[in-house]
């Protein structure tokens, strides 16, 4: 049996107890400080997470040589469904979009910003996906698809179809608005090497 005073300090219970307390405390402190900074930088209207009125503009996603990563590029006016929205209107629309995305449980098939399930494509840059063909028909195609995914299935040769979620037209439009807004978030280059719809 080893006596207590024979134990070297770095193997002692007391040393590791203090280490556990101080290191955990320090890490929590650092996390809290970083959280303040991050929350500020991801608030809507910041450089990384644009204001909801960005849906009134053209959004692109291009490689930035200096940052060595892809980043969203906000262009000239390009209203969604032909309407320029005020700040409040854009907020209401985005809010409905987010509530619908949650209530319809999109995240258990799709990924959003890469998080979710892997049964269906990632939606981070869905607004910019070349699969919609051309900008001129994109909004209509997206709306038709969301309202009746079974008959407008986009399975790319597989038979994995989105179920009909009984979306109202307002809900479907709000989801499209949400996808457009989400594509404007600076995601540090994720996804990389993405080829956008012809701008």
């Amino acid at each position: 049996m080893i006596k207590k005073d024979e134990i070297v300090w770095w193997a002692s219970e007391n040393f590791w107890k203090k280490s556990a307390i101080f290191i955990t405390g320090f890490m929590i402190l650092v996390l809290v400080l970083l959280t303040f900074d991050t929350v500020d930088k991801i608030t809507v209207g910041s450089k990384r997470v644009p204001a909801y009125t960005v849906i009134n503009n053209q959004i692109d996603y291009k490689y930035n040589k200096t940052r060595n990563m892809f980043e969203p590029v906000i262009g000239s006016e390009s209203p969604l469904f032909g309407n320029i929205l005020t700040t409040e209107e854009a907020e209401d629309l985005i809010n409905l979009g987010k509530l619908t995305i949650q209530a319809k449980n999109c995240m258990n098939c799709h990924t959003l910003l890469g998080n979710g399930a892997y049964y269906a494509p990632d939606l981070t840059k869905a607004w910019l996906d070349p699969g919609w063909g051309a900008k001129s028909v994109r909004e209509t195609l997206m709306l038709n698809f969301l309202m009746d995914p079974e008959n407008n299935a986009r399975t790319f040769g597989t038979n994995r179809k989105m179920p009909n979620l009984g979306l109202t037209e307002a809900e479907a439009k709000s989801i499209i608005a949400y996808l457009k807004w989400m594509s404007s978030i600076d995601t540090n280059g994720f996804p990389t090497n993405f080829r956008t719809i012809k701008q």
């Binding site: 650092v30 209530a103 990632d122 179920p163 090497n193």
Partner: protein
């Protein structure tokens, strides 16, 4: 003498009587998890299966939520199991603990029924409060969140007050602080934001700080106690190891949170912080592995409860490989850029949750059944050589490892085709999904899933029968320590 080894709660203290309720419910929900895993997996390969009846999102949601909930039931049960022994006093709030159990169980039942029969709602706050919050892992509607917090508070009070009344120990201190943190971080997931970056930022506080921090510390506490019981490890050694684990676990895991902040709109400094600290996360798992294996080896792997010890070893390896190695594979941002949101994550998730958490809960089930039958010896004296626990352990572990490897192969294909070659477009996604080797890997995933299901059936059969009168060579208790 016929019923000498029948299940009898007379052998249990009041904390343990509550624990067996939690354990029983945990096993029921474990079965639910596997059933819905098989449904979701089948649907993945055959999309017509249950299409528009129970869609993939519903099956998958029940699958992952059942997992979270049965593990929680197992943890709560484990803590109630050890509390009176560790605090050397009776549980303070027995009725309260029972009340908490029934509140949680009724809430879980309602949530599952709503998930299955109502499934989704219109885009409104009412849907989020009453039907489905639509956020992975914490889909339970808001009313249920409040219920969960209420039950966790009851649980926390009970444990804290019992230790205060009885004897305080190193394990007690870590456990109480950890439970407070575990309940506290759940609050971070209980609000709505229309900003998805903000939403996911706080959502990860719950998901990461549960599974990669507070849950790990909790199983560290359980492990410390079980090692003292099964192989008679010294309290000083297990407590010192527990502090080492906490230091390393929270020293790396708290800022390791940053590896979820690479691509959700959060600033670029998280690429460095998250990459660095999450790369350190396997270190405490190495420590835990060394600790468990070394201590068991010192005792020549002799124990009073062989199935429990075997599952503890499975836990040590599973935690190290599943959480540690599989997590490390893709934790650096340069790699994660291609693997994030692919089958790599599913591969890691399966091995990590099973290896780190399911295993230790199963070890606790065996601890419980041993005492429930009158503290019988479950070392080497099982009449049939313990073929049932050995078979179920083998099948469950072969099943999970097989699924993990299959999904890893699928993940390699997916990140290569969809991400690297095709640049993450929708057509790239489907190109990867219909690649022959991806599809073959997903078929293998199903095969191994069925192997797990078979293992689970034998596990339950074993838990029901092990140590009963007919199973014993002799019915005399032979505890190692006596």
């Amino acid at each position: 003498m016929i019923n000498f080894h029948a299940l009898n709660t007379i052998h249990l203290n009041s904390g343990q009587k509550i624990a067996i309720k939690y354990f029983s419910m945990a096993i029921v929900i474990f079965v639910v998890q596997i059933i819905f895993g098989i449904l979701a997996g089948t649907q993945f390969n055959n999309p017509e299966f249950l299409y528009q009846i129970i869609d993939f999102n519903v099956n998958r949601m029940v699958h992952i939520n059942a997992m979270i909930i049965w593990l929680l039931y197992g943890f709560i049960g484990s803590v109630y199991w050890l509390i009176e022994d560790e605090a050397k006093t009776e549980l303070v709030g027995k009725k309260l603990a029972n009340f908490g159990f029934w509140i949680l169980t009724i809430a879980v039942l309602i949530v599952v029924l709503v998930f299955l029969f109502i499934q989704d709602g219109e885009g409104s706050h009412a849907s989020i409060w009453l039907i489905n919050e639509g956020r992975e892992y914490i889909e339970a509607p808001r009313w249920a969140d409040i219920g969960i917090v209420f039950v966790m508070l009851i649980f926390f009070y009970n444990i804290y007050a019992t230790f205060i009344k009885g004897k305080w120990s190193g394990i007690a201190g870590v456990l109480v602080l950890d439970l407070a943190a575990l309940a506290g971080v759940y609050l971070a997931g209980m609000f709505y934001s229309d900003n998805i970056s903000m939403d996911q930022f706080w959502w990860w506080w719950v998901v990461h700080l549960w599974v990669e921090a507070t849950w790990e510390v909790l199983v560290g506490c359980i492990m410390a106690w079980v090692l003292m019981k099964t192989i008679n490890a010294s309290r000083r050694i297990v407590t010192t190891w527990l502090y080492i684990e906490v230091t390393l676990m929270l020293g790396s895991g708290i800022l390791g949170l940053g590896h979820h902040y690479f691509w959700i709109g959060t600033p670029e400094y998280w690429l460095t912080i998250g990459g660095f600290f999450s790369a350190l996360e396997p270190i405490p798992l190495v420590a835990m592995l060394v600790h468990a294996i070394y201590d068991s080896g010192v005792k020549n792997f002799k124990s009073t409860n062989n199935p429990a010890l075997a599952w503890l070893i499975a836990h040590a390896f599973g935690n190290f490989f599943g959480a540690g190695v599989w997590g490390f594979f893709q934790t650096l941002p340069q790699i994660n850029l291609y693997t994030h949101g692919t089958q790599w994550t599913a591969s890691h998730g399966h091995l990590a949750f099973f290896g780190a958490y399911a295993t230790i809960n199963i070890a606790m089930f065996y601890m419980a059944i041993q005492a429930w039958r009158g503290n019988i010896h479950m070392g080497s004296s099982l009449i049939d050589n313990g073929w049932k626990w050995k078979t179920s352990l083998t099948l469950l572990n072969i099943g999970i490892v097989g699924m993990t490897i299959a999904m890893l192969i699928a993940g390699y294909k997916q990140s290569f085709i969809e991400r690297a070659v095709e640049g993450s477009t929708w057509s790239g996604y489907f190109k990867a999904q219909s690649d022959p080797s991806f599809m073959l890997a997903m078929d293998w995933r199903m095969t191994f899933g069925w192997i797990m299901a078979l293992g689970l059936i034998i596990l339950i059969w074993d838990l029901i029968t092990i140590g009963s009168h007919s199973e014993m060579k002799n019915n005399k208790s032979k505890l190692l320590s006596t």
